[in-house]
Amino acid sequence: MSKPKVAIVLGSTCAGCDYSLLDLGPTVADVLASVEIVYWPTGADFKLSDLESVPDGSVALTLYEGAITNSDNEELAKLVRRKSKAVVAYGSCACFGGIPGLANVSTAKDIMKTAYVETWSSDNKEGQLPQPLSKVNGKHLELPVTYDTIRALDQVIPVEYYMPGCPPPLSYIEQALVAALSGKLPPPGYVFASERSLCDECKRTKEKKNLTAIKRFHEIIPDSQRCLLEQGILCMGPATRGGCKAPCVDNNIPCRGCMGPTPEALDQGAKMLSALASILALDMESGVSEDRLIPLIQQVKDPLGTFYRFGLPKSMFRRVIPRR
C-alpha cells in the first residue's frame, strides 16, 4: 500500500504553524516516515512544480496555513484544492484571517504606503510602491497582487477541516495526522478544538464577574489563582474555543482569542463585547449615566485588536469600508 500523500502549504503566514510541527518532537520522524510529503517548502526544497505534478485529488490531507492576502495565496489555495481530498485550514490565519486580517481596517494601497514610504526607516522620496507588473532592464517582473480585503481560507476554497490556534495545539496536529494515516478522518466541517470555551480548561477560581475597572497588562500584577477577567484584565477566554489547555492563562497571560469563536457564536468579538458590556459596573448599573459609563469603556485600549485580533475577516463586519 502506498503511503498517503500529505502537503503542507503556506499562504500569508509567519510560519509559526510550521514550527509547531517540529514541536511534535520524535513523532515528526515517525509521521514523516509513514506519509509521502508531496509539498512542504519550509521543510525541504520543494518547488511548486512538485505539487503541480501530482494527480488531481491524490493528496490525502493538505494543511494550509496563513491567510489569503494576495493573488499568489489564492492561486496556491485553488491548486491544493484541486490536488487534495481533504484540506485543513491550519492555524488561526487560515481559519479566520488571523493577524493579517487586521489589515481589513485599511486598504492595500494605504498599507503599502505605510510600509514603503511612511516609516522612519523608509528612504523612498519618490514614493514608489511595488507594482504587480514592472519592467526592469527590459525584462518583465511580476509580483502577486495584494488584495484590499484579507480572507480566511474557506472564503476562497471549500475547506474540510479547521484547526485553529496560533499555533494549533500539538494534540490536534497529532490527532489529524493519525486520522489521515488511518484513513479515518472526521466528517467534513469538523473543528479540531474543544466545543466549549477556554474557561472550561482554565484552572483559575471564578467568583463574581463584576468589573469595576479594566486594567491593562502592565498596570497590575495579577493574582495567579483568580480569573483574570474578574481582576479587570481583558481575557478573551470566555468567548474563545478551548482545546489548547490554556497555556497562556496558566502563565498569567490573558487569552487573546486565537482559537476563535465557539461553535454557536456568530462573532467572537461581538460576543466578548456583549459579555463585557453586561458585566461592566454591574453593581452601579441602575441609573448610571453615560457620563460615568463612557470613561469605563474607554479603558479598553485598542478594541479592534482586543476583540478581533484573530477574526476580523470572518466576523460580521469583515472589514472597514474605506472612505471615498
Partner: protein
Amino acid sequence: MKVAEEPKVGVYVCHCGVNIASVVNVKAVVEYASTLPNVEVAKDYPFMCSDPGQNIVIEDIKSKGLNRIVVASCSPRMHEPTFRKALERAGLNPYLLEMANIREHCSWVHEKQPQEATEKAKDLVAAAVAKARMLKPLETIKMPAVKRALVIGGGVAGIRAALDIANSGFEVYLVETRPSIGGNMARLDKTFPTLDCSQCILTPMMVEVAQHPNIKLLTYSEVKSIDGSVGNFTVKILKKPRYVKEDVCTGCGVCEQKCPYTVPSEFNLGLGKRKVIYFEFPQAVPLKPVLDRENCVYFKKGTCRACEKFCPTKAIDYTQQPQEITVDVGAIILATGYGLYDVKSKMPEYRYGLSKNVITGLELERLTSATGPTKGHILRPGDKKEPKDVAIILCVGSRDEKHLDYCCRFGCVAGIKHAYYIVSHIPDARVTICYTDIRAFGKGYEDFYARIRSLDNVQFIRGRPMEVFEDSNGSLYFDVFDQNTNRLIRLNPDLVVLETGVVPDPSFEQIATVLKCSRGPDGFALELHPKLRPTETSVDGVFLAGVVQGPKDIPDTVAQAGAAAASAIALLSRGEVESVPNVASVNQELCSGCGVCEPICPYTAIVLEARNGGRVAKVEATKCKGCGACAAACPSGAMTQLGFEDKQIIPQLEVLAKGR
C-alpha cells in the same frame, strides 16, 4: 404535536377592518407572501382574530399540513395569545406562530404613504416568514401556585383587597409599616360627597381584618425582600419590636396614660402630641400600643420604666428584637398608597412650614376630627383661635408643569368638603376657594359642589395665587387674579388650607425596585394596560390597588382594590401558573462555566453547578422571566432565549437588512 422537517408556512394577512387595509395594499402583500420560500399558502381576511378568521388558519393547518403560521396583523401584545390558541386547536404546537405587526408598526404610522407602507408590510411579512421557518415547538411552563396572597399596605385599598381574598377562602398576609392599619382614610373626618364619618365606615372593616381567620396581620412591619415569581414568591418581612407582648397586652391603655413623656404625633401630622408609648389613634387595629424606642427615656437613660410598672398584665418587654418572618405567597397586591407633595421645600411661596396658619387639607381633617388634637374644634394652629376667614387653594403642586403635571383627582371635592367643614363648624366664617377648574366628576360630586357653591359664605375664585405673604403682625394676605371677573382680588385670610398634590408613598420606590415592577414618569406604578389590564403590573402575579397606581378618590380606590383582589383570587384558585416558555436555556454541552451570566440575571434564575472540577450554568425556568440579558451576555453562545435564538433572529434581520 409532531413537526415535519420541512417547514410549510401559512401566511395570513389581516385587514383589521380598515385599520390596515385602508393604507396597506393587503392583496399585494398576500401575492408577495405566496412567493416566499416554504410558503404553502397566503390569504387575507377582514378580521383574522374573529372566529371565521381563526377557522381559516385551523382548516388550512388540518387540510394542508401547515406547520408554521405567520399572522400579519396587529401587535402580538394584542392577539398572539388568540392565534396561539388557534394553533393549539388545530393540533399544532402554539409556539410555531410568528406575528408581523403591520398595524402599529406600519399602517397606523404611515397613514400618508400607502405605497411605502405596502412595501414595508411586505418586508415585515418576509422577515416573519424567515423567522417562522426556524421556529421550534416549545412547551408551556406550568407550575403549582402557593394559594396564599400578600397585601402590602394597610390603607383602605389594602384592607378591602385583603378582606375580599380572605372571604374567598384564601390566606392573606397584610403588611403595614405603621403600628395600625387604616392609612390616610383613618385621618379623614368625613368623606365626600355623602359626608359619612370616615372612621365610622372604615373601622368596621379594620375590625373585620383583625378578626378574620384567614388574615395574618403584620403591622409595624416592612417588606425587606421579594424573590421568586408568580405563584411562588418568597417574601421576607421585618417586624419591628413594639416592646409590648401582643399576646399578653389587653389594650387597656394604662401604659399610655402613665407615660410621662410626649412627642409630636405622626398620625396627627405633628399638630398634636402623643405619648412615647402610644396608640396611633383610639380605634387602632390592632389595639396594641407601641413603644417609640427613639424617644423613650428608659432606652436613653435606663430610668423611668413607668409603663412596665403600671402594666396590669406585665406585657411590656424591653428586650424585644426585630423579627424576620418569611412567607411564601402566590400573588401580591401593592396598596402602598400615597404621600403629599413636599410643598414645604418645593413651594416655599405658599409659606407652608413658615407660617403656622398655612396648613394642608389633610391637617384640616385632623383639626376637624373628634379624635384629633383639637377634639374636633377647628382652631387655627397659630393662636388656637377659630378662623373666621379661610382661603382654600386647590391644585397646590398639581397640574403644574414645574411640579406635578397630573391632577390629584380628589383635591377639588376635598376642598369643597373642607369649605363645608369650616362653615358648618363656624357658622359666621367665610371661605374662599381658589381653583383652577372644579373637577367634580364622581357620582354625586356635582350635586355636592352645587350645594356648597350656593352657600352665601363660600365664594369661588377661578385663579391660582402666586404667593402668600405674612405681614409683621402675623396676618396672611395674597392676591389672586379672578379669571371669571378679570379682577385682581386681595384676600386677608386668617387660615390658608392647601389642597396639595399627591405622590406615591415613599416606601413604594423600594418595593418597586425589589419587584422590578415598572413605574411611570410620575413614579406611580404602571398598569399593564390602562383599560384592559388596569390592576396588573409588568410583573406577573403582582396587582395594584389604589393610589399606588395613580391618584384616586376612595370609591375608585376601593373598586380597584376589589378588582385587584379578584385577579389575585383567580390566580390562587387556579392553583397553577402557566408561563410562556420564552425563557433562557443553556446548552450544557457548550457551557464552560465562565460565570458571565450568573451575576447579571435580575431574577437569580441562573445557578452555576459543579461539573468535573469546573462549573456549568443551569437555568431555573420557573424563575426566568425571559428578559434575554444572559443570552446577550453569554460569550460562547451556550445560552439562548427560546423563541428568540440567534438562528431565528438572524434570518429575520438578514431579510430586513438586505431588502428584496
